[in-house]
Amino acid sequence: MNLHEYQSKFRFADYGIPIPKGKVAHTAEEAYTIAKDIGPPVVIKAQVLTGGRGKAGGVKLARTPEEAQQCASTILGMDINGHEVLKVLLDPASDIQAEIYLGVTNDRAARKPLIMASAEGGMDIETVNRLTPEKIIREHVDPFLGLRDYQIRNLAYGIELPRELWKQFATIAKGLYRCYIASDATLAEINPLIIDGSGNLLAVDGKMSIDDSALYRQPELVEMRDTSAEPAAETEARAAGLSYVKLDGEIGCMVNGAGLAMATMDMTKLFGGSPANFLDIGGGAQADKVAVALRIILADPNVKAVLFNIFGGITRVDEVAKGILDALAEVQVDLPMVVRLVGTNEEEGRRLIEEAAIPNMVSAATLADAARKAVAAAQAS
């Protein structure tokens, strides 16, 4: 789960990190009032859970409240990578003398939190890593010991931070690490952390990602989830206990198991089509879950065909087939469907599908066969 810039920064502030005294506006009028309130010049920034908002025109500088209102009205409602802008953050414009990167993430290979700093702030850290990896100073943090003072000094020394800023930097680094741990974050990043005109450090932009597995113990963060910012289908899928990711293709996929779902997506591509989604319906595949999954898939206007790929393991395939047929009684599907059932009692399962004789549904024995049929059906329809 990702947090908006304003959510991340406001949370950073709770951990003693200095941030610009900005506010969020939902309308252009609100933007006007806020700009007047905090005093221009202000920066108006689209709050969307995607990158590249700068290039898309989602960040603007305004010299007057009127200008702020105008900018906000341009940005609000904008579509950035498929995300509609519903909120803007207005920050007092900062006098940027230098831009630093500071971030904590979990390094899965080292199995430790990793704190990184770079004097090359402002651009994304992957780009810095590609162009000038030596400019990133890295310290792995022992999860039991936490971030130690000497590690912060190693970072400050490594990025050649002026010594008079070491103390401020230490407060910020410690705050960021504490925030990362306390929030069960997988990423907590300040970019840029600027040196402003008065020679102080200020966290001008921020980003946080939260470990979904830890949300059960982060009720405050769950409250922050901005469902308006994600495709409605993902919200619905989450509520139903389904794992769904929308993609751009035309073949709706319904699979049990994440790995098999990915393999199924890949197969549609291999045979010339492309997947409309990732969808893992999990174990069992009861009729009600299949029904919700079907509705989600059908809600995507790009979908031209639906591919069911179900492996019956502990749950027998014939039972799964019944679940699918029950769901089809509930949900009207006009698109072509390909059903591939494999595993325990697969013959019986296939027989049930065939006996149901649903006109727009065909059965397939192998995954390759199923993918081929789905691609053909999608291209035909």
């Binding site: 999860p143 979904d212 059960y216 098999l260």
Partner: protein
């Protein structure tokens, strides 16, 4: 022979009285796994499926001499269950539970590294040595004894592959699900080394997916340390960056962990990579 589990496995089920725990315990017993008892705090002294239930792993261990434990407890209690098994001296701990926070697993893994116990999982389907023992949730009847070792980060995709092998009468030594989490107890290299050392295993199937760099490391390990042929499959070529594909660990982050990178690394190491799962039996 086989790896991890066999006829000598004496299995303890942590969370035996829960819905999932009880269901799969029944399946494991039916398969012939030697289940010696279970643990559910507060239910010590009861019996489930003819097996004694204990309050603590320590008590269960002392009473049954279990050498393996499988964990079905809910995520928020799962790390404690792992530490408990570790502390009681269980040699092999298999954690089925999904949804353990990654910061918790980092700590678990650090503790494991200081012990002589091994953890498989979490968020994994477990282990299956056809004809001998099944520990976890894999469907037992889709497998048959043979000479192919299977190791995978996935669940049903593994079953799919194992089933495809079995249908072609290609049997398996052991099927190992290492789990889909970013930090786990046992990785590809650990299992590859065990298969390399196992005299019965002649060929190996490795099933990877997007996220992390474990497949790249495995490729390197195979090239430098293994004599037995390996066939691989990587799921997630069509997965978009920055999106988690069901498994907590299946995500392309900062340009790292793509299927393309993994396939390239495997190819560079001279390992055959199947275009789709059904191709695997042919490539073996």
């Amino acid at each position: 022979m086989a790896i991890f589990v066999d006829k000598n496995t004496k299995l303890l089920v942590q969370g035996i009285t829960g819905r999932e725990g009880q269901f799969h315990t029944e399946q494991m017993i039916e398969y012939g796994t030697h289940v010696v008892g279970g643990v559910t705090p507060g239910k010590g002294g009861e019996w489930v499926l003819g097996k004694p239930v204990f309050d603590t792993v320590k008590a269960a261990y002392e009473s049954t001499g279990a050498n393996t434990s499988v964990i079905y407890v809910p995520a928020r209690f799962a790390t404690d269950a792992i530490y408990e098994a570790l502390d009681a001296g269980i040699e092999l701990i298999v954690c089925i539970t999904e949804g353990i926070p990654v910061l918790d697993m980092m700590k678990v893994r650090a503790r494991l590294d200081q012990s002589s116990s091994r953890l498989v999982g979490p968020n994994c389907p477990g282990l299956l040595t056809p004809g001998q023992a099944k520990v976890g949730i894999m469907p037992g009847h889709i497998a048959m004894p043979g000479n192919v070792g299977v190791v995978s980060r996935s669940g049903t995709l593994t079953y799919e592959v194992v089933y495809a092998l079995t249908q072609r009468r290609i049997g398996q030594t052991t099927c190992v699900g290492i789990g889909g989490d970013p930090v786990n107890g046992t990785n590809f290299i650990d299992v590859l080394q065990m298969f390399e050392d196992d005299p019965e295993t002649e060929k190996i199937v490795l099933i990877g997916e997007i996220g992390g760099t474990d497949e790249e490391k495995a490729a390197n390990f195979i090239a430098n340390n293994m004599t037995k042929p390996v066939v691989a499959f990587i799921a997630g070529q069509t997965a978009p960056p920055g999106k988690r594909m069901g498994h907590a660990g299946a995500i392309v982050e900062g340009g790292s962990g793509t299927a393309a990178d993994k396939i390239a690394a495997l190819n560079a190491a001279g390992i055959k990579v199947a275009e789709h799962p059904e191709q695997i039996p042919e490539l073996l």
